[in-house]
Symmetry: C2
Subunit: 86 residues, 2 copies
């Protein structure tokens, strides 16, 4: 968070409008929203019977999985960096 | 993904049961599910009027935001590592 100014950004995700408040830039919030929208549409086309709520939960599962994988990679990089610095 | 064996893991997220199939370990899938469940409860207690579907979408927004922030940090680390190796 680079400053304490709060932006309110209106985004559309899977046909529903959301007003997101935060100190992030509008472009960052729009990017996040479009990634969530894309992922929901991808999961929905593979599982057409899912209702929106389950679809959104599985999208969150997917995003948290990606986050944890990236975190593992980051920990590896940090180890390498530490070795090179010592 | 370390192998091609598919595991089916049943998890409970926000009172709803999900069967998640993938090559990840059961413990990884349970960890992801519990992080999503925690985040949904956290967002819900701050916004009690949200329905489950919007709650799940905002949880996904949150997770994708965290992912992008971590990715930025990782790119910085990679730059540092490259400098140290060159």
């Amino acid at each position: 968070m680079s400053n304490n100014n709060k932006n309110r950004t209106s985004v559309d995700i899977y046909g529903q409008s959301y007003s997101i408040v935060g100190s992030e830039s509008t472009s960052h919030i729009r990017l996040v929203a479009s990634m969530v929208d894309d992922k929901m549409r991808e999961i929905s086309s593979a599982n057409p019977a899912l209702d929106t709520s389950k679809l959104a939960v599985l999208t969150a599962v997917n995003a948290v999985h990606d986050y944890l994988k990236l975190k593992e990679e980051m920990e590896e990089l940090e180890k390498e960096l530490k070795k090179l610095r010592d």
